[in-house]
């Protein structure tokens, strides 16, 4: 009887949970990355087990309150315990915990360890390889590794490039642009107080703590781009800082825009060109400054030259 009830409930909850793609009434958001989907599935399993325990226990409580309310001719049974029953429910609780533990360990690697990129993903240049711990990379060792830096009250994203010079790397604030079908691994840091990186649809959160580097990953599947408009402009996943980081904590938002590999290539080229142009501009400005400074110095020297020969009276020294 209880089993049938429990099963029925489990079915009902499964249906309720499997409803709209981004229903976040019962369960965490998902749909942007396999790890978020796996967390969602694990959550649903725990939810079903929890719901059964809830209904069973709460039911027993309400039944007892109704059935054993004080009334005429009703005697309380003076018993102090029942060893067999007590051992029974202890074992029962232990078994539930054991089952949940086994299920969790079955899901854990898929959530923690990055997947390989899809075949239709962006081709990661061989020169982008990072010297990261192998466990933090997909089995084939290829991931787009991006440096995420939290600061009051914004995120900075630094992209890798082939060379060793960190100065000319592409970087953005606020919006992280990534190609679909490609495993993206993040090195999350902070340069001031603690922050937490969290895009609900792309998986769990990780703290950004000064002095430490934290890691997470996601992979937006190509099918996450649902229509032509998203295939053209990309799909935006939003999130915000999840660790109190000061007065403007609520406004420390983060956006991830997933675009097609082609669009990503184009974006990357444009950014690179911008960075180079900006670099050249900066260089030009520095050169001008230098020239200007030299001229100034020369003029000053020329003006100062005559007076410099005049001896200064000893009293004014």
């Amino acid at each position: 009887m209880t089993l049938a009830l429990a099963f029925g409930l489990a079915m009902a909850f499964t249906l309720a949970l499997a409803g709209p793609a981004h229903a976040s009434f019962w369960a965490p958001q998902n749909g942007g990355s396999p790890n978020a989907d796996r967390i969602h599935t694990l959550y649903v399993i725990v939810f079903i087990v929890g719901a059964i325990i809830f209904v069973f226990t709460e039911g027993a409580l309400i039944y007892a309150l109704w059935k054993f309310r004080a009334s005429r001719g009703h005697e309380a049974k003076q018993l102090h315990g029942n060893t067999r029953v007590e051992i029974g429910w202890t074992a029962g609780a232990a078994i539930v915990v054991l089952i949940l533990g086994i299920v969790t360990f079955a899901f854990l690697p898929g959530i923690r360890n990055p997947d390989d990129s899809d075949s239709d993903g962006w081709q990661i240049p061989a020169s982008y390889t990072t010297a990261k711990d192998k466990k933090l990379l997909p089995p084939n060792g290829k991931a787009l590794n991006i440096d995420v830096n939290g600061q009051q009250y914004a995120w900075r994203f630094v992209y890798p490039d082939g060379d060793a010079d960190r100065q000319n790397n592409i970087y953005t604030y606020e919006e992280l642009v990534v190609p679909v079908g490609t495993t993206v691994t993040l090195d999350v840091r902070s340069s001031d107080v603690g922050h937490a990186w969290w895009i609900p649809q792309l998986g769990g959160k990780v703290d950004a703590l000064p002095g430490y580097t934290n890691h997470t990953w996601f992979k937006v599947p190509a099918k996450a781009l649902r229509n032509d408009q998203e295939r053209r402009d990309g799909r935006v996943f939003t999130g915000q800082c999840a660790e109190l980081c000061g007065r403007n904590h609520a406004n420390m938002t983060a956006r991830v825009r997933a675009v097609t590999p082609e669009a990503f290539d184009a974006w990357l080229k444009r950014q690179k060109a911008d960075i180079d142009a900006a670099g050249r501009g900066a260089q030009r400005y520095r050169d001008q400054q230098e020239q200007f400074d030299r001229q100034q110095a020369a003029t000053a020297a020329a003006q100062a030259a005559p007076t410099a020969t005049t001896p200064v009276p000893a009293s004014q020294r």
Binding site: A36, I39, F68, H74, H80, V193, Y212
Partner: protein, 565 residues
């Protein structure tokens, strides 16, 4: 030379009989555990009111999206004050208040083992509260009740608010530490004749466990805040990663205290429930030994789960796995308790007094907090839920729906003993139902707010998803809850003067505090009968009935005749 031969006669001269102190001088100088207990309860309930007003302000700010009612700074100050007040100035010390009043009475003692230290404990608490609330006049802390570094360091919050918080932790910590040693020694040494460990009331077991946990956990936070203080003012760098320190160290030390603190807050609540349920079900507690053992196991495991507050920090997988498993294990002893309480109601005759309603409300509500705790213990799932409103909902189910409902159950149960007057049952039931409905309206929906992507501790949110609707529901619930609490406050104040006279044992209860008058006299008991079971009052009532029955059955003259026949 006659005077030299007079031998001195020793004499005692009473210059003056010490006048009994009156009025406030009596309260300030008292070492009587009952008066100290009352002061604890009055002060902590006052802080509960203040913390509640802060909570309502928070909910007002969050009632609608993009609200501009409060400044961001004010909001951060409010969440810090609310959390700190409820944890350090209400839930923990209110348990000490009940413990102070009832532990000596329940074990048949005249007072605590160290009455003067007991007074010190209380005044340390009062001083801590004073120092902390003094910061209202300059700059309250705005780093949340967890005061994570580097945010709480002098670089980011140079004003004195964080220092006020540090001194609060130190002062209330000293108070709790002294009080805990006192509870331990009292329970270990002053039990009535015949009260073996297996006849100790479960509330006393829980206060004993509370004390041990405080003694083990408080030094960690004392060290942590001392290092924060020296980092802020004396140039040390314990938490500064740039100088070889570590912000993670703060989190470990804080939660090494912070998680046992949860059990410190909730275990005495379990104790109250274990006293109230058998009295009103008219049935012995189901599985006394299992409940006492489960209390100890929870405390033991509770010391080994602290890093489940740190699942999103950069920590090695093996650490995360350890703390996940230890956290999940806690659900076993907790389950044993919940089942034993239902077992206590089973086949009883349940009298629905207000006290019992609160106890049952505790059971039903705490269960939800326990189940959501399992979600949070599983660390990959916690990665989604951590620092969101799901967590806020979870710990309010445990601390508000759990501990506070238990405190209210204890208040309705013990009020007649403390004041000699009954609280009004009708108002009590109105208060209970309003609080229950208000509580679930406020906090059930907060699970969904968190799942919908809203982190905790944000003063404003965008109008996305269902956040606007959910938050409005939550705010309305908070005000219903507030009204419910207010009804009990009015009830308590009215009953002080107008309540029905209670008599020594209005509930026909089980433990020794009901053996003496209400309120109990200065030294509690004239004599304490030998304790023969975990329910001494039941034995005493049975004995009285037996003797009365004998006298009635056997009239004086007939007795002699019968024995001869």
């Amino acid at each position: 030379m006659a005077s030299a031969t007079v031998t001195p006669i020793p004499q005692v001269v009473a210059h003056q009989v010490e006048k009994p102190k009156r009025g406030w001088v009596d309260w300030v100088t008292t070492t009587d555990h009952k008066k100290i207990g009352i002061m604890y309860l009055v002060l902590t309930f006052a802080f509960f009111g203040v913390g509640g007003i802060e909570a309502l302000l928070i909910r007002l700010q969050l009632a609608v999206p993009d609200n501009t009612l409060l400044e961001f700074q004010t909001y951060n100050e409010l969440i810090t004050m609310h959390g700190t007040t409820m944890v350090f100035l209400f839930v923990v010390p209110v348990m000490a208040g009940f413990g102070n009043y009832f532990v000596p009475l329940m074990i048949g003692a005249k007072d605590m083992a160290f009455p003067k230290l007991n007074a010190l404990s209380f005044w340390m608490l009062a001083a801590g509260g004073l120092v902390f609330y003094a910061s209202v006049f300059f700059n309250p802390p705005e780093c949340g009740w967890t005061c994570y570094v580097p945010l709480a360091s002098k670089d980011y919050l140079p004003n004195g608010g964080v220092d006020a918080w540090i001194f609060l932790v130190h002062l209330t910590g000293i108070g709790s530490l002294v009080g805990s040693v006192n509870f331990y020694v009292t329970i270990a040494n002053l039990r009535a004749p015949g009260m073996t460990w297996s006849r100790l009331p479960l509330f006393c077991w829980s206060i004993l466990t509370y004390s041990v946990l405080l003694i083990l956990a408080l030094p960690a936070i004392a060290a942590a805040v001392t290092m924060l203080l020296t980092d802020r003012h004396f140039g040390t760098n314990f938490y500064d990663p740039g100088e070889g320190g570590s912000p993670l160290l703060w989190q470990h030390l804080f939660w090494f205290f912070g998680h046992p603190e949860v059990y410190i807050m909730v275990l005495p609540g379990f104790g109250i429930i274990s006293e109230v349920l058998p009295v009103f079900a008219r049935k012995p507690i189901f599985g006394y030994k299992a409940i006492a053992a489960a209390t100890l196991v929870i405390a033991f495991l509770g010391l080994m789960v602290w890093a489940h507050h740190m699942f999103t920090t950069p920590s090695p997988s093996v650490v995360l796995v350890f703390f996940m498993v230890s956290s999940m294990l806690i659900s076993i002893p907790t389950g044993i308790k919940i089942f034993s309480w239902i077992g206590t109601l089973w086949q009883g005759t349940i009298h629905f007094t207000t006290s019992l309603l609160y106890a049952v409300g505790f059971l039903g509500t705490f269960l939800i907090g326990g189940i959501t705790g399992v979600f949070l213990a599983i660390y990959p799932v916690d990665w989604q839920l951590h620092d969101t409103y799901f967590v806020v909902a979870h710990f309010h189910y445990v601390l508000m729906g759990g501990a506070v409902f238990a405190v209210f159950s204890g208040l309705y149960y013990w009020f007649p003993k403390m004041t000699g007057r009954m609280m009004d049952e009708k108002l009590g039931k109105i208060s209970f139902w309003t609080m229950l409905i208000g509580f679930h309206t406020t906090f059930l929906v907060q699970h969904s707010i968190g799942l919908d992507g809203m982190p905790r501790r944000i003063p404003e949110y965008a109008d996305v998803g269902n956040l606007a609707t959910f938050n409005l529901i939550s705010t309305i619930g908070a005000f219903i809850l507030g009204v419910g609490i207010l009804v009990t406050a009015v009830n308590a104040l009215r009953s002080l003067k107008h309540g029905a006279i209670a008599g020594p044992d209005p509930w026909k209860a089980n433990t020794l505090e009901w053996f003496t008058q209400s309120p109990p006299p200065q030294n509690n008991f004239d004599t304490v009968p030998r304790v023969r079971s975990v329910e001494p009052m039941k034995d005493i009532r049975a004995e009285i009935e037996r003797r009365q029955g004998e006298r009635e059955r056997v009239p004086a003259g007939a007795a002699a005749a019968e024995t001869h026949a």
